[in-house]
């Protein structure tokens, strides 16, 4: 059985989730975690099956989970946690069908693969400008200088957020990331971020309701006019898309760059045929070190899986990081192989909740990796030690210093 301490929030598991979840996948793939009162799912086939049986596993976690926050929070912050629950519950991703379908329809068409392709030239230009700014320095922090500003710039442009406001939006987003962390006093920064987002997006939404444009806030606001969203839902989902539209891509760009740097033979291969390999290489970055490690659901009824019974209302967390390294689904899964094809990774999930922004993330990943290989072929990591944010959801480096000659 599992010999490691059964705690997903330890420093060891944050530094290397693959050892812990990999050992669970082999020993006990449908695992009851006593400490946090939830099921931990780690096999690829189980994650795919569960994502595609949305009627058995509810997304309305914050609305319907009566249990306390985990890890435990300060008792004085229980009121703040109620605010967090009300806020989160209005996100469209925290809904099930039929409501989820009506909400998703409002936003879905904006993000079609063809529509996102039209953003590729904008992404290319933005990447070149960011690399121009650091080229003469000979070094940069990928996180600070490239991976963060690029997706923030793109989603801000889509949503019609003025350039001057981008750093404010990013600061609020950093507070929202406390949702997935373990500090006992995390409710204060988290609720500050939530209220700050509501305050920031309210006038933008009000303006778009009166003067709709072709930006994405206008799309969300149209959901209120159609009676699908309440005003609070428009505000919360505008904030959600501002956050989700960049935080995940940040991690794709950093984790992918790191994977290339740690596998020089793959970097060399990529440099020989950037255009030809960009698509498959980006998929492999998404598989090998995915931006989102895990997602949570609630069982809607008793469900039997691998000899265990998950009871109605039980909490369930499935681990993309583990599913993407499952030897039953991938040949030589620990190997970073940018020619891997097919590559049925679940970095974007699957089923009705499959990531809305998947194509946009792919475009940004492809363009960044191509541009780095073209302009900084001698790129290498400049540090021995890497630190990750202590998040159960996001696989997020604190910084990634690199240099070139």
């Amino acid at each position: 059985m599992v010999t490691l301490p059964d705690d997903m929030f330890t420093a060891d598991v944050m530094a290397n989730p693959y050892a812990y979840y990999g050992s669970l996948r082999e020993a006990d793939p449908v695992h009851w975690n006593e400490l946090y009162d939830l099921w931990v799912i780690t096999r690829h086939d189980d994650v795919v099956w569960m994502t595609r049986h949305h009627e058995l596993f509810s997304n309305a976690v914050f609305r319907n989970d009566p249990r306390a926050a985990y890890p435990a929070i300060d008792e004085s912050d229980l009121g703040l946690y109620e605010y967090v629950r009300d806020y989160q519950a209005d996100q469209f991703i925290q809904h099930d069908r039929p409501e989820h379908l009506e909400m998703r329809k409002i936003v879905h068409t904006y993000f079609t693969p063809r529509a996102m392709e039209t953003w590729r030239p904008f992404v290319q230009k933005a990447v070149q400008e960011l690399l121009d700014a650091v080229e003469d320095h000979g070094h940069m922090d990928v996180m600070k200088d490239l991976a963060t500003p690029l997706p923030v710039l793109v989603i801000a442009q889509m949503m019609g957020v003025p350039p001057a406001d981008r750093s404010h939006v990013r600061k609020l987003a950093e507070k929202l990331l406390y949702i997935a962390r373990g500090e006992h006093d995390r409710m204060k920064p988290l609720t500050e971020g939530m209220q700050g987002m509501i305050d920031y997006v309210s006038p933008l939404v009000e303006e778009r309701l009166v003067n709709p444009g072709d930006d994405f806030i206008s799309v969300l606001a149209s959901g209120e006019k159609k009676g699908v969203f309440t005003r609070h839902q428009v505000l919360v989902n505008t904030s959600l898309l501002l956050l989700a539209g960049h935080e995940t891509t940040i991690n794709l760009l950093c984790n992918g760059t790191l994977a290339f740097m740690r596998h020089p033979e793959q970097w060399a291969l990529f440099k020989q045929d950037r255009e030809g390999l960009a698509q498959r290489a980006t998929e492999e970055c998404l598989r090998y070190d995915p931006p989102v490690k895990s997602l949570q659901r609630l069982a809607t009824r008793d469900v039997d899986l691998r000899g265990k019974t998950m009871r109605k209302d039980d909490r369930i967390r499935w681990f993309i990081s583990s599913a993407n390294r499952d030897p039953e689904a991938f040949v030589d899964p620990e190997r970073f192989d940018i020619t891997r094809d097919p590559n049925p990774h679940v970095a974007f999930g699957s089923g009705v909740h499959h990531c809305l922004g998947a194509t946009l993330a792919r475009v940004e990943g492809q363009e960044v990796f191509k541009a780095l290989a073209e302009r900084f072929p001698s790129l290498h990591v400049e540090t021995e030690t890497l630190e990750y944010q202590p998040s159960i959801t996001f696989r997020s480096l604190k910084s990634l210093p690199v240099a070139w000659s």
Partner: protein, 74 residues
């Protein structure tokens, strides 16, 4: 008389997002693996089928003119 279409779903790509089934239940239906099948390419108007194909988030739906083989989507 509408021209006959050939419509199919690439199951290496399909992630069971099910937007096609939600939009055109007469044309697309999820199978036991929760992946989409084109059950009736004549089940709705050509323009609607092309719109459903465009709304597939992973570009898994393909549409052809059944008589000429001309690719209509993507």
């Amino acid at each position: 008389m509408a021209r006959p279409l050939r419509v199919w779903v690439d199951h290496h790509r399909c992630v069971g997002n099910a937007m096609c089934e939600a939009l055109l239940p007469a044309v697309f239906r999820l199978n036991a693996n929760r992946q989409s099948e084109a059950i009736d390419p004549a089940g709705d108007a050509e323009a609607k089928i092309l719109e459903a194909a465009e709304n597939c988030p992973v570009s898994a739906i393909f549409v052809e003119d059944a008589q000429t083989g001309t690719r209509l989507f993507p």
